[in-house]
Symmetry: C2
Subunit: 324 residues, 2 copies
């Protein structure tokens, strides 16, 4: 089996060798720019790790894996434009360096380039991976649409929030793991377990990310703490607090949500205190553990020797940023 | 062989039955809106007409053909946003009815939906048509990029303009005809002749469109005459006039191009008069005829019985809006 570092090196090498021989060059500069910003390359790594469970030769999966990374970066490019985000990985976003039209058109070319990589496989599973990728890509657009719609809605239910993060984040991990299995001609039941593993681990990741946005350590989290609280983002914790806190806690929470001018640190401290008192930090941790356990049970249901799943478990556990 | 009306009916029926079963519905409403605006459906018709040259059963080609129409409408949706166009087929554009973010995201979903239709074929030419479509789609993005860049450039050469319209308009017709041939397992040389037929007929169509923008009859052309002259659009005729007119004609033309305030009808009349005197109307007609003749020679090089190409010739000649 391949070591995780080998997998990452192979992906980085492939990304650095991507060429776009179609005119004009100016259309592809923003694509090269955003791909060079880096990132954990976790989605292509999931494709190759899943493939590697069944075969030592992951070459057939390399181009589709990189296609998934190009697709992921396309969603970031267009999402940043729609969300008016200035920074991505601490660098100016594409529409900031160039302009909105460039971000739209280069993003479109990037989505097409993702498909071009996806079809560059000698695997006979081509049609299956294209079906999977295409449905996933539509679901991700749906997730972004929900995310934008939720911003202007008064209330969002817990089920709606979980469905939104499933679509926006989790399905791409499910797709990555399943695609690796399909490209290795793994049994259908294994491919489905790997899909469910990705969905559950993806939901756990996103809820963990929301939790760290409130409780994380600025030095290790990589972004500012409390951003979700300041922007009234309807996360699992806020939704749960609004639904289960005592009337006085809810009143206090609503007062902060409706406040137009406030000291950011004061709001963060006050809302965090309500989260603590209302037990939503614990509720969030319980939910994360449930998804994590469910993910693990799918991994343990695979037909492969359990020792082969070690790298996937290790990488995902590291990404969960757990102390244990 | 299928009559042209049968082909169009089959396409309209298929478009009206398109369903997008992925949440949320709000993501797909703009897609249904733009597809319901109509249009000549010429690109999917080209796929089916080409396929029908070789086989009576065009079912295998229907979904990919409609995919090409969905793709074409996706480009209109994003182009209208980039060009800040308010109207499309006399109806408000998607970003006007909804907003820019909706146009971006529903456009993205539409591009993915085009691929989803493209892969819904039982043909064993799947990989070939995906390669063809993907390269074509990237070229079309390149054409739009050139078109936008040319707006802010002082001078554009004739070769650059022809390359821009080849990418923005002609390659999709080439792709449509070739795709129909590939889906019918036509000989490679025929597929290539049909591609070249589409390229040449597409260039002829676009130059004819530019000509009608100046010399057309408002009642039959369907848009206002002189739009390109008012906006200083660097068309074949303007480029040719700037390159070949007499010094005094060039000076007069430049004066109109640089004028900030003017009476639109006066500018249209003055520039049209220069075009007439400088012989660029004739030059344009000669160029159109060259492309048209070249297209015909490719059609006549096909291995099929010449009688089978009658419908394609008839439809294209009608689209050329010729009096003859």
């Amino acid at each position: 089996m391949l070591a995780f570092d080998n997998i990452l090196n192979r992906i980085e090498q492939e990304i650095s060798q991507l060429t776009f021989p179609y005119p004009p060059k100016s259309l592809y500069e923003p694509i090269e720019y955003i791909l060079a910003l880096g990132g954990k390359r976790i989605r292509p790594a999931c494709v190759l790790m899943a493939c590697n469970l069944y075969t030592d030769s992951v070459e057939k999966a390399l181009r589709p894996a990189v296609g998934l990374e190009v697709f992921h970066n396309f969603t970031l490019l267009h999402d940043d434009l729609m969300d008016h985000a200035d920074k991505r990985r601490n660098k100016p976003t594409v529409h900031t360096v160039w302009d909105a039209n460039t971000a739209i058109l280069s993003g479109d070319a990037m989505l097409i380039a993702a498909y071009q990589l996806m079809i560059q496989t000698e695997s006979d599973a081509l049609k299956k991976i294209l079906d999977l990728f295409t449905v996933t890509a539509l679901e991700i657009c749906g997730g972004q649409q929900y995310d934008m719609e939720f911003e202007t809605r008064d209330r969002v239910t817990e089920a709606e929030y979980l469905e939104m993060i499933r679509l926006k984040t989790a399905v791409l991990l499910g797709c990555a793991f399943k695609m690796g299995a399909l490209l290795a001609n793994a049994p259908e039941t294994d491919a489905e377990h790997l899909y469910q593993y990705g969905i559950n681990i993806g939901l756990a990741f996103q809820l963990q990310d929301d939790l760290l946005d409130v409780y994380g350590n600025t030095a290790t989290f990589g972004k500012n703490i409390g951003g979700d609280i300041i922007s009234n983002k309807k996360t699992f914790m806020l939704i749960r607090a609004l639904a289960t806190a005592t009337p006085s806690q809810q009143a206090e929470l609503t007062r902060w949500l409706e406040m137009k001018t406030f000291d950011p640190q004061e709001k963060i401290a006050a809302v965090t205190a309500i989260y603590n008192e209302a037990g939503v930090k614990t509720a969030s941790e319980v939910k994360i553990q449930e998804y994590y356990d469910s993910a693990m049970s799918h991994l343990e249901s695979l037909s492969v020797d359990p020792s082969r799943t070690y790298i996937i478990k290790e990488v995902c556990s590291r990404l969960m940023n757990r102390q244990s």
